[in-house]
């Protein structure tokens, strides 16, 4: 047993509650037992309760409370965005966002695509069935 993701300076976390819901932030300092100082390229550095954070696997190399410019450089060096978008967790979130933003027409197109895919799958399945039967 053991925790794999630790709260440390440079740990990338996802905000899971509040106005900044869904944002990726970097833990830049720890205030006390419950709160961390958190920063991100597109937000003002602020404190947030650990309960509002979900830690990710990504960690970057920074000193305690770096300047914004330094932070951005470090994030680019570690390619946080790329790692996040390629991780299965990140991909799932992206898909979720896309689904929520679908219009009626998009849903229609989606339906047709699903039907088509289902048809192809069924074709292959029936081919395989024939082979095993024969």
């Amino acid at each position: 047993m053991g925790f794999k993701r630790y709260v440390e300076i440079g740990r990338v976390a996802l905000i899971n509650y509040g106005k900044e819901y869904g944002k990726l932030v970097v833990i830049v300092d720890v205030v006390d037992q419950n709160r961390a100082l958190v920063d991100s390229p597109d937000m003002v550095r602020s404190q947030i309760n650990f309960k509002r954070l979900t830690l990710t696997d990504i960690k970057i190399e920074i000193n305690r409370v770096p300047k914004k410019k330094t932070l951005i450089e470090a994030m680019e060096k570690a390619d946080v965005k790329g790692k996040w978008e390629n991780s299965s967790w990140g991909r799932k979130l992206i898909v979720k966002e896309r689904r929520a933003a679908l219009t009626d027409f998009d849903r229609f197109k989606l339906m047709l695509a699903k039907i088509k895919r289902g048809g192809l799958v069924r074709q292959e399945l029936s081919k395989l069935k024939k082979e095993t039967a024969a």
Binding site: D104, F105, F108
Partner: protein
Amino acid sequence: FPFPLTYIARLLRIHISERKREEEAESNQNSFAAMAPRKTPVVSRNPQLIRGVGKYSRSKMYHKRGLWAIKAKNGGVFPKHDPKPKAAATPVKPSKFYPADDIKMPLPNKRKAKPTKLRASITPGTVLILLAGRFKGKRVVFLKQLTSGLLLVTGPFKVNGVPLRRVNQAYVIGTSTKVDISGTNVDKFDDKYFAKAAEKKNKKGEGEFFEADKERRRASCHKTRRMTRRLSMQHCLNRLRQCQI
């Protein structure tokens, strides 16, 4: 000395306006004693301090309006025009029937109905979802709003079987999908087009009427269908849907 000068100025002004009026009277040959038509709109020379209270008193206004000058021109008396000869009034026949009781007349209602305000999300070419009626659930293209306030809408017919139809805005969801209908001409269609064919009392007449109306409708339907057919991807995809299901 100011008094005589202003008096002279006034006389001059009157003289000029008099000349103008003479010219107008010459052109207007109806009656020499009639007032010349005004070239400027009537504006009160007495500004209101508060509603009902003017700035100037009666005597001041007498001077401002120049009534003294008109009187002076007419020999100290305000000019009177003989009344125009009235056309002989047609004798009014006493009515044969007077109702026994006084019936209360309803108050006059001068309101004019406007077509309902169209939701901002609904513009010509928007795809709408019908929520009620025979075609509920169908996606349909919005063409225009009729004067009655109802929305003119079409499937198009070839695509999903919804003909040119009127639909109430309340029973419709507007989607964000828009179709380009700049080519279609829907001026021909209005509420009268959808009115029921008036039935004649003559049986033979009824049959004819009905057929004629139907033909007219079919012809116009064809035209719009042809035009809306030249539209977008939406259209083709909807077709696909019909092929697959």
